[in-house]
């Protein structure tokens, strides 16, 4: 098992390297220049000075090498536009996106998996229809629209929840949570819907297996048959879906952070791309990519733990 984990971790490095290459070429090819980002009434001389000051006129591969060496030294560099170190921005923004994604994952998993199991076990009954309907709606509604409808309903019409803003968890838990409910639900809905549907089909398939009949023939109560024998086998495809979805979650966070004005990484990445502030874009996307890769590796490891067959056979 350990050998497999080491191999997976080692594989992360080339992937991260490739991410940085793709990222850098994308930013290089973007038309327009960070200098213009400062404002439309910027004089030509200032643009020239700005380029020299930030070494933008150096050839691309030189800039890339500088960036990589700094990155390895842990120096995330400085934003082109504001000149402030990017690490401060990350310290403030990363916890927000992390909390948003974790919350929506928890909201999703805590709701989705039991709902999926319930509708699989009680197939073709009312709870089954209700869950499948909600899951279907969850998948079809575009997240940003769901968020905006929620703002319209809960903030404007009913006035129960604030429409924007963020309060650190350390400052006041209640304030933080009231501001995070809607974003977490808006982001989590699509995630929950997919996980529910996946859980339901995984469970239906598992309950058809022979070893479930054996378990029943051994006189085990229904509860044990489901929560011990069926769950662990069904978890394998469920965990894969959760893994695949987390990658998409960060993408979704970008939109939700804009709808609810949360100071997260997603929104900052969009702004920085539009302003061509490439050091910020590179730093933030590398972090997000790193997290997604770590999560994928974790998912593979969890796979190995759940399913002994995998740790033996060398399935990539």
């Amino acid at each position: 098992m350990a050998k497999k984990i080491v191999r997976k971790v080692l594989l992360m490095l080339p992937v991260l390297f490739l991410v940085s290459i793709i990222l850098f070429t994308l930013m290089e090819v973007l038309p327009g220049d960070a200098a213009y980002g400062l404002g439309s009434d910027v004089s030509d001389e200032y643009i020239q000075q700005f380029r020299e000051e930030h070494g933008l006129d150096k050839p691309a591969y030189v800039r890339y090498l500088d960036w990589v060496t700094n990155m390895l030294k842990g120096d995330f560099g400085v934003s082109l536009i504001s000149g402030l170190p990017i690490i401060d921005r990350i310290k403030v923004r990363f916890p927000v996106t992390l909390e948003l994604t974790l919350l929506s994952m928890i909201v999703a998993v805590v709701i989705a998996i039991p709902a999926g199991i319930l509708s699989a076990v009680k197939r073709n009954t009312l709870p089954d229809y209700l869950t499948s309907v909600l899951a279907m709606v969850g998948v079809t509604i575009p997240p940003f629209w769901l968020g905006m409808l929620m703002v319209l309903l809960f903030s404007i019409t009913l006035g129960w929840l604030p429409a924007s803003g963020y309060v650190e968890l350390t400052e006041s838990v209640s304030e933080n949570l009231t501001r995070m409910i809607m974003p977490a639900l808006a982001l989590g809905t699509q995630f929950a819907a997919t996980v529910t549907r996946q859980t339901r089909s995984a469970f239906l398939e598992t309950l058809d297996q022979d070893y479930i009949v054996t378990a029943k023939a051994k006189g085990l109560p229904q509860r044990v048959v489901i929560w011990k024998h069926a769950l662990r086998n069904a978890l394998i495809p469920i965990v894969t879906t959760i893994g695949m979805q987390t990658g998409r979650l960060f993408g979704g966070a970008v939109v939700i952070e804009t709808v609810f004005t949360l100071p997260g990484i997603g929104r900052e990445i969009v702004n920085s791309i539009l302003l061509r502030d490439y050091p910020v874009v590179m730093a933030l996307i590398m972090i997000v990519a790193f997290i997604v890769i770590v999560i994928n590796t974790l998912i593979d490891i969890i796979h190995g733990l759940i399913d002994p067959r995998i740790s033996q056979s060398q399935q990539r």
Partner: protein, 283 residues
């Protein structure tokens, strides 16, 4: 039991599922609307009539009019063409590229496989919207570029599925048998491996169309969806939002259309998955 061709049995299984049929109907209607486009309505989608702006849905204007007095029903029809095109276009790109790479990587393995897999993992690690946003900005907004921008995001999905299926199929006897009788690799892939995963691919394609439609809507929320004179349902959704109080129909109708299309695609996808899955008995 008289012998039924496998195809007819699948079709019969498909049509026994009510929801799958509903899904198929919705998709066919959407396709028809997309192909016919604004010609279905007497108004032209871009004709601005300043006097009758913000008219609620009436017999004259089925879906009301927008802030420039354009007939919403015509715009929805026009939007249908663009939204369906984005859904289908980007899915084709993802399908072709993902499947091709998946087959090659899965079948040949070795260094080629590791390199492509790393590249795909790298693409995968990018937050989806950001990749689409960056590609869209680089290539500049045009319909084709939107296809590419959204398509590239879903290539890893197809790649992973095709690759893992190819690895399992490659070990099966009849593939080894085919190789034994001197078939070259390409024809093996084409005749033996690909048909074997056709059912999963069909299901994945329908579901990917649904995801692409929603991805386009999110992109247009960030202001980088389909270039503005063109309006997909997603961009209508966004531009109609501030007017939700003043003219709710501007945002609600595109929203309902998107949800209906995605719903149809999902029902179709589920129906196909059950119908094509040999294991599921027809209870």
């Amino acid at each position: 039991m008289k012998y039924e061709s496998n195809f007819r049995k699948t079709v019969k299984k498909f049509f026994r599922r009510k929801l799958a049929v509903v899904g198929l109907v919705i998709c066919l209607v959407m396709l028809f609307v997309a192909i016919m486009g604004p010609s279905l309505s007497s108004y032209s989608p871009s004709e601005t009539v300043v006097e009758d702006r913000y008219q609620p849905p009436s017999s004259v204007h089925l879906f009301g009019t927008d802030d420039l007095g354009r007939d919403m029903f015509a715009r929805i029809l026009d939007g249908a063409r663009i939204t369906v095109a984005v859904g289908v276009g980007s899915t084709c790109i993802a399908l072709v590229a993902g499947t091709l790479l998946g087959l090659l990587a899965g079948f040949f393995g070795g260094v080629f496989d590791t390199v492509i897999s790393c590249f795909m993992d790298a693409l995968w690690a990018f937050p989806a919207i950001i990749l689409a946003l960056a590609i869209n900005t680089v290539l500049g907004p045009s319909l084709l570029n939107i296809f590419i921008a959204i398509g590239v995001v879903y290539i890893p999905d197809f790649f992973r599925i095709v690759r893992s299926r190819t690895i399992t199929i490659r070990e099966l006897e009849y593939v080894i048998g085919a190789r034994a009788i001197g078939q070259n690799s390409i024809s093996i892939l084409w005749h033996y491996v690909l048909p074997n995963m056709s059912s999963t691919l069909i299901v994945q394609t329908t579901l990917c169309c649904a995801k692409a439609v929603i991805a386009e809507a999110s992109l247009s929320f960030l202001g980088l969806g389909v270039p503005l004179p063109m309006a997909s349902w997603g961009s209508m959704l966004k531009s109609g939002y501030p007017l939700l109080e003043r003219a709710p129909w501007l945002s609600l109708f595109p929203g309902i259309c998107i949800m209906l299309l995605v719903l149809g695609l999902n029902f179709l996808g589920d129906g196909l998955r059950d119908a094509l899955d040999v294991r599921i008995r027809d209870d």
